[in-house]
Each structure stands twice: as C-alpha cells, then as structure tokens.
Amino acid sequence: MNLTAKQKRICEQVVNVFETGTIHGKYGSISIYRDGPHKIRQITYGRSQTTEYGNLYELVQLYVDANGTFSNQLSPYVEKIGVTPLVDDKQFKKLLRDAGRKDPVMHRVQDDFFDKRYFQPAMAWADKNGFSLPLSALVIYDSFIHSGSILYFLRKRFPEMPPAKGGDEKIWIRQYTDARQDWLANHQLTILHATIYRTQCFKGEMARDNWDLSQLPVDANGVDVFGD
C-alpha cells in the first residue's frame, strides 16, 4: 500500500474524528472501562486508546526514554503498569493526562507508537490481501481501530474475494462496508446502531468515486477533514 503522506494523514484524521470527535485526536484522554483481564476496570489512554493491561507499559516506557517534561515523574510507574492496578491512582492518571495535553514529546511518541501498533498492521493486512487504493486503506484501518481486525464472520457474509485471490478491490470494499453497516445497524445491542456514521462516511466517498482520497474535504461524521 503506497500512500502519500497526505493520504495517510487523511486516514488518521478521519479515524480520529470517528473516535474522539476531533481531527487531531485527544492525546491526554483517559477513560476507565471494564475491559481488563477477567473484565476488571482498567485505564484506556491516548489518541488511539491503549490499555493498562495491553500496551500502556510500552507507550510509557517509550515516553520515559524520550525525556519528555513528565518522564522523570512517570518513570517509577513503568514497572507497575500491568502488574499493580493503577486505575484508581490519581497521580498516575494526572501525569498521563498532563503529558498528553501539554507535552509535544508525548504527542510524537504516541504518533509513532500508534502507527506501529495499529496503522502498520492494518496496511500489512491490506498488502497481503492485494489492496492498493487509499480509500481501501481507510476502510481497513478503521476496522482495525474499531474492531481490532477485519472480522472473519463479516467476510463470510459477502461473496467477493479479496484482490490477492482474484477478486475486484472496489467490489470487495463495497461489499465489506455494506456487510459491516448491516451488522452494526441491526445489532441486538441497539447502541451500536449509532456507530454507522463510520460506514456511511465510506459509502459517501465511494458514491463520489473518491478512491484516491483526492476530493476534499472528506465529511467524517459532520467534520470536514482536509489532511492538513
């Protein structure tokens, strides 16, 4: 997948809007969800949501190594992350919040980290399956951010093969987006219906034949994305 820097920024910014409502994401955002091991509460942090029992250790270690403004204060916490529950540690959460809001070093560390953890695996999947169009990259990246991968049960709901197996790229992406929208719009957990703004955005771009993401802005859930 050979994206220009601008096409890649468009993908990231559209997904940032889907996730947080803002083009640049929220680097200092902290949420507490009951999605840790055995469904215990855990911290979810940063622009693209890394978790206390997932990759937060690695992210904070990278930030400490990068000598950011709050690196010294966060340093003692590195060995505790994922070992000792920190979900109720106010000082730790304040440091994470402050670093994300005030320190450009944390922004850079998060950008690099999330690129490695989410964007590159999504693009590796796209390459392996023969996709090459920028809008396909956006659809695939969004699925990795939203559902962790291209869900297998959705792939079984439509007939087109991926390009690597002789299928047509645009048809596959259209059918996959339809299957995803159908799943979300008719889910028995009704709050999921509200998430179809993602697939609606993609369908809008397909309808105007914007496969190279050159027609700007992209309307992401009511926010104009220019990739600047």
Binding site: K39, F153, L189, T195, Y197
Partner: protein
C-alpha cells in the same frame, strides 16, 4: 455532570448500605431503615436524554455513556438486592446471597460471549451494553420479588392490626 453526582451518590449511599449488610449478617435482623428507598431514575434519565440528544456521537462518547448506564443499572441492582434482603429470614438471605454470587459470575461470562470484536474501540462498547442488558433483566426479576415481599408484608401488617 452526572459522573460527579453519581460518585457522590455512591459514596454517601452505598457505603453505609454495604456496611449495614455486613453488620446485619452478624447480629441485626434489619438491613435498611424503614422508608429509605433511594432513586437513581433522574440520573438515568439525564444520561439517556444526553445520548438521544447529542447530534454527532463519537466512539468515546458512546462507550463512556454506555459504561455510565451499565454502572447505574448495577447500582440500582445493588440497592434492590439490599432492600430485598431486608424482607428475608436468615436462611433465605443465605440463599439469595449464593444465588446472586452465581449470577454475577454468569453475567461476566454472558457479557463476554456477546462481544464480536477482537479488540478495538468497539469491544468495550459491546461488553458494557451486554452487561447493562443482562443487569436490567436481573433488576426486573429482583424488583418483582421485592414487590411481592412488600405486598405480603403489608397484608400481614393489616391482618395483625385487625386482630383483637
């Protein structure tokens, strides 16, 4: 806004109730002072209204709102559970305790089973919504049992008062 209100509510209401539950197991036959029946309905309405009214919902908003609603239902279930305990004798209390313990384990498993995503930001939303739905079913069940117990107790009181 509801988060602050909710936190204060939990501290001032639920902690004494939990403590009351522990003491009752040891010596006291009553758990809840007569007429104490707290309500979380307004908070629930506020959250539901906010969810319905917000024009552009992003993933973080949806997940946080869903988590808030699930927590609220769990708190309501806790309140009804304690209120129901109030009407039970020692043997029945033990039974309800064990029943609730088993149900809590099943809830976690059922909510986990309802999740299709393999990570990603949708996963906690799927989990918290399933958690809320399962909790609402249990809440309705315990509320029904509580109403029955209250009705029976009232009938008994009226009958006792009429007896010379």
């Amino acid at each position: 806004m509801f988060k602050k209100f909710f936190s204060l509510f939990m501290v001032f209401l639920l902690m004494p109730m939990a403590s009351a539950g522990q003491n009752a197991a040891k010596e006291c036959s009553e758990l809840v002072p007569n007429g104490w029946s707290p309500s979380l309905e307004q908070t629930q309405t506020l959250i539901e209204d906010e969810l319905a009214a917000k024009a552009r919902k992003n993933q973080r908003f949806l997940t946080q709102t869903s988590q808030g609603m699930a927590d609220l239902r769990d708190a309501q279930l806790f309140v009804v559970y304690v209120q129901l305990m109030h009407f039970l004798d020692a043997g029945e209390r033990r039974e309800l305790f064990n029943e609730q313990k088993c149900w809590l384990s099943r809830r976690e498993l059922s909510a986990r089973t309802a999740v299709d995503s393999k990570g990603g930001s949708l996963e906690p939303l799927e989990y918290s919504e399933a958690f809320r739905k399962i909790t609402e079913e249990r809440l309705a069940e315990l509320e029904k049992r509580l109403t029955e117990k209250q009705t029976n107790t009232e009938k008994k009181q009226i009958k006792d008062e009429r007896q010379p």
